[in-house]
């Protein structure tokens, strides 16, 4: 039994590790400019595979940020998550190592896969040299829950921890899970997702997705909502947020950057994109209801933008179904076209972009996308200034999860 506190759930920290920026500031600068950074896949062992274009995190030196004893026992996906968590905590002004009240802070991540690169290396030792040559850290590094565990250990956080495994949309479900933990009395939760899907084994797994784009031209590989839509390309990286009880944030003088206002989630089955229309629309209605938000209050929509014609159509119709006449007026954007889809990290990056967009009063554009074939006011080419108080973030997973998150602007002045 738990009672829910009436207070609001604030976002007090944002950390990003993405193909277009290794900090929230750098990410936002690229997103606002509509910079597309899709490029050839260069990760070792991936060069000859049919996936030619993706969003790689480049210039990231894990050893600059993370102690070696954590690096030896973790995969790249956890390195990104630990780095993003550190940025988010620094942004929120929450100390690591020796937190004031370690039981008041929890960690939640979402994960679509786990540590593919680490796992492949150890499995190669298994069949190449034998079981005695598999390192013990294989037991934890590949595991999709690794990042939550390592962030909590590294930071000394002992509050409620969890991992959401609900497909790409799990990025949003994780934020909702964290917000519920805060309403039940946890002071703050470090929440988000980061992925590292560009290793040979991981790429081979993804080649089975009919939605994966294997187009070789980075400018044409991922163009949702257009006649040239040909699927999506994957991305590395992700984002972590600090969500916190509003009163606790105010008491310690932290800036409230945004509020997690409402969430809804549904399931409509793997690759059943036509059915995702109904599921996504329902998720939006549930999220609006949860937030006490009228459709007309939504000032911007961050679309899922899968890039599969049937899925794009379903999403455009879902927005219309859920928002009614307002759907024709509300600006829609999909900054992820500039970097690719970081699976569970993708909707968390979108949530970070939504907070930054509200702070800066601009809707960022959708890179590489022109000539929209759907009845959407998709923002393309350049950022559009707008007073943004409330944002709607949408996400769907390849396995059938749909989610919607309503985020409200914080009441502190934009930075």
């Amino acid at each position: 039994m738990s009672t829910e506190r009436p207070g609001r759930v604030a976002v007090t920290g944002i950390g990003v590790v993405a193909p277009n920026g290794l900090s929230a500031d750098a990410y936002w600068k690229s997103v606002r400019e509509g910079l597309g950074v899709l490029d050839r896949v260069t990760r070792e062992g991936c060069e000859e595979l049919p996936l030619k274009v993706a969003g790689e995190v480049r210039g990231f030196e894990a050893s600059d940020l993370i102690e070696e004893r954590f690096l030896v026992q973790t995969d790249r996906f956890s390195h990104y998550a630990m780095a993003a968590a550190q940025h988010a905590l620094d942004d929120a002004g929450i100390a690591r190592d020796v937190p004031e009240d370690p039981f008041s802070i929890g960690v939640v991540t979402a994960a679509g896969s786990g540590g593919g690169e680490f796992g492949q290396r150890e499995l190669q030792k298994l069949w190449g040299q034998g079981s005695r040559f598999v390192g013990p850290y294989q037991s934890i590094a590949w595991f999709y829950a690794a990042s939550t565990g390592q962030i909590s250990i590294r930071s000394g956080f002992k509050g409620p921890c969890g991992v959401v495994a609900s497909d790409e949309a799990g990025g949003l479900d994780g934020i909702a899970h964290a917000a519920r933990a805060v309403r039940r009395g946890t002071g703050a939760v470090v929440v988000g997702a980061a992925e590292a899907p560009l290793a040979p084994y991981s790429v081979v797994c993804q080649l089975g997705y009919p939605e994966l784009s294997t187009v070789e031209d980075p400018d044409r590989a991922y163009r949702p909502f257009t006649d040239a839509a040909c699927g999506f390309v994957p991305a590395e990286g992700g984002a972590m947020l600090v969500v916190e009880d509003e009163q606790r944030a105010r008491d310690r003088g932290a800036a409230v950057r945004a509020f997690v206002a409402g969430h809804g989630a549904t399931f409509t089955g793997a690759s059943r994109w036509r059915e995702s229309r109904e599921g996504l629309a329902r998720a939006v209605r549930v999220a609006l209801d949860d937030a006490g938000c009228a459709p007309e209050e939504i000032d911007v929509v961050f679309a899922d933008a899968l890039g599969v014609p049937e899925a794009d159509r379903a999403e455009a119709l879902a927005i219309a179904d859920a928002l009614g006449a307002h759907a024709a007026r509300v600006p829609v954007t999909a900054p992820k076209t500039g970097i690719g889809r970081a699976y569970c990290g993708a909707p968390v990056l979108d949530t970070a972009a939504a907070v930054l967009a509200m702070e800066h009063g601009v809707v960022p554009p959708t890179p590489y996308v022109f000539d929209i074939r759907h009845d959407l006011d998709l923002v393309v080419s350049r950022a559009r200034p707008a007073e943004l108080r409330t944002a709607l973030v949408l996400s769907r997973g390849l396995m059938g999860s749909n989610a919607a998150l309503v985020v409200r602007r914080g009441d502190d002045s934009a930075r």
Binding site: E67, E68, R69, F70, L71, V72, Q73, R132, F133, G135, P136, Y137, S139, I140
Partner: protein, 86 residues
């Protein structure tokens, strides 16, 4: 016949390789009873060191080795086995 003994220098190198922990072998030698946990080596890290030694020397170490609390205890156990010969 193996006549070698594991030294503090080699243990320090293994701690770095298997557990990512950098420690001065002289410090290790000066305070050999300092717990592995305090040094930053967790149970999986120690298990990795045991596995590396078993592969290197072609011997099986007793299960107590991976439960050793300190470098002194660990070296005692390991060298007992190594010096007995494989």
């Amino acid at each position: 016949m193996i006549t070698t003994a594991l030294t503090f220098d080699e243990l320090a190198a293994l701690m770095k390789q298997a557990a990512g922990v950098t420690v001065d072998p002289r410090e290790l030698e000066k305070a050999p009873d300092a717990p592995f946990g305090t040094l930053g080596v967790d149970s999986l890290g120690l298990l990795g060191i045991v596995g590396e030694l078993e592969n290197r020397y072609g011997v099986a170490l007793p299960t107590d080795a991976e439960r050793s609390k300190s470098p002194a205890e660990f070296l005692g156990l390991v060298n007992g086995v190594l010096q007995k010969g494989a």
